[in-house]
């Protein structure tokens, strides 16, 4: 039985209001002891959860838990079942994800959960930063959830995930949204400054991709902008995306673009949005794929 919805008027305007929850709502649910709701922290910083987290929250580390240990891919159905089961999450459990860096990795985890068809995945609007900024409770107590029986589900790599071959076939047929900083987009910079080894051999962007940095979608406090503002950015008057468009988002490794994928898919309700998780670390190193440089899309 899913947890109740957050009735915030801001969320009611989104295409899928059930995909976001507010910090106030979450605090209420925790206080009320709502059952079959599991809060999951997913951070870029592997140690942040240990310094303090939302009471009752379990940790899912994107790098050690969600990725295959050898191949550049995600864990398989059996691995996902074991992971979620160990965190006390059943197939019908409401999952509320939150994390650092404006929910980049929380959105990434939400996207991976979606590949496995987990139905009730929500993001805490504003993420960890907002929870902390509001002075809400943190604890270092690590919960020991009762293991749940999670079914083995085959990952769907078609509906919401794009591979390099899909992007090549997509060129000239549908819009691409590049989520990186303008300097990465033009090719002036090969990597973001603190992550030198994620550098690539070629700079620039996928031809025809339009550059809308991820931060465009959020307000000062890290919460998603209201629907009307998102419409102005991504739909008419902005990127011009239409409901019948087949859209692909990408960034460097797929985490920032998951944040935008979430906005396009759930908040604006575009039905066909795929995230290209290979992103620029794959494209900029691939042999003989087309690349555009400079501020223009093509």
């Amino acid at each position: 039985m899913p947890a109740p919805l957050d009735p915030s008027p801001k969320f009611a305007e989104y295409a899928r209001p059930e995909r976001l929850v507010s910090t106030a709502w979450l605090a209420e649910q925790i206080a009320a002891g709502t059952t079959d709701l599991v809060v999951v922290e997913s951070d870029e910083d592997v140690l942040l959860y240990e310094t303090g987290h939302i009471p009752g929250a379990v940790k899912v580390d994107w790098h050690t838990d969600l990725l295959h240990p050898v191949v550049r891919d995600y864990l398989d159905g059996a691995g996902f079942a074991a992971l979620l089961g160990s965190r006390g999450i059943g197939r019908d459990t409401t999952v509320v994800l939150y994390g650092d860096k404006n929910n980049w990795w929380a959105a990434y985890s939400a996207w991976v959960f979606t590949l496995f068809g987990h139905e009730d995945v929500r993001l805490l609007d504003g993420g960890r930063n907002l929870w902390v900024a509001e002075g809400r409770e943190l604890t270092t107590d690590v919960p020991a959830p009762t293991a749940a029986d999670y079914p083995v589900v085959e990952r769907d790599d078609v509906t919401y995930r794009a591979f390099k071959e899909d992007v090549l076939a997509h060129l000239g047929h549908g819009p691409l949204v590049d989520i990186r900083s303008p300097q990465e987009y033009t090719g002036e910079r090969l990597h973001i400054p603190d992550y030198p080894e994620e550098g690539v051999l070629r700079g620039g962007h996928i031809p025809s991709a339009r550059n809308v940095p991820w931060a465009t979608a959020v307000a000062e406090d890290g919460t998603y902008k209201p629907r009307a503002e998102l419409e102005a950015i991504y739909r008419d008057g902005g990127l011009g995306l239409r409901p019948d468009d087949d859209v692909i988002t990408y960034c460097r490794i797929g985490e920032r673009s998951s944040h935008t994928w979430f906005a396009l898919r759930h908040l604006l309700g575009l039905p066909n949005v795929r995230n290209y998780d290979g992103s620029w670390t794959e494209w900029g190193n691939a042999v003989r794929v087309p690349i555009a440089t400079g501020p223009d899309p093509s």
Binding site: D45, V46, L47, T64, K101, I192, D194, Y195
Partner: protein
Amino acid sequence: MSVDEVGGVLGEIRDEFLAVGERERLQLLLELSRELPELPERYAASPALLERVEECQSPVRAFAEVEADGVHFYATAPQEAPTTRGFASILAQGLTGLTPEQVLAVPDDYPMMLGLARAVSPLRLGGMAGMLGRAKRQVREQLAEGA
């Protein structure tokens, strides 16, 4: 300098990491993150030392100074970046007090010797390598200025 030849505090820290299992290594890094010293007063009020990195949102700054009693390594990183603070703390404890020549002799891949490659992700270790590289460059520049 080979892996086995890293001595002093850096060698001790490496040995502590390698002596325990992977989960405990993260706990050790967390403990080290709590030991990162505050910046000295003369730097604490220098906003120019804080470098804003637009994409990662963490104002991280690390720098080395050659002083009469040897090298000092200073770093600042926000509380919400404990991994970065842990790596900075290792360097603050391991580099401070060394001679400039000893700092320059620290292997560039020291971060890879801590047995954290699977627990922390290579990109974070690259960040620590970046801090070490920056410290070495600054030591080199100060030696050149003083020459």
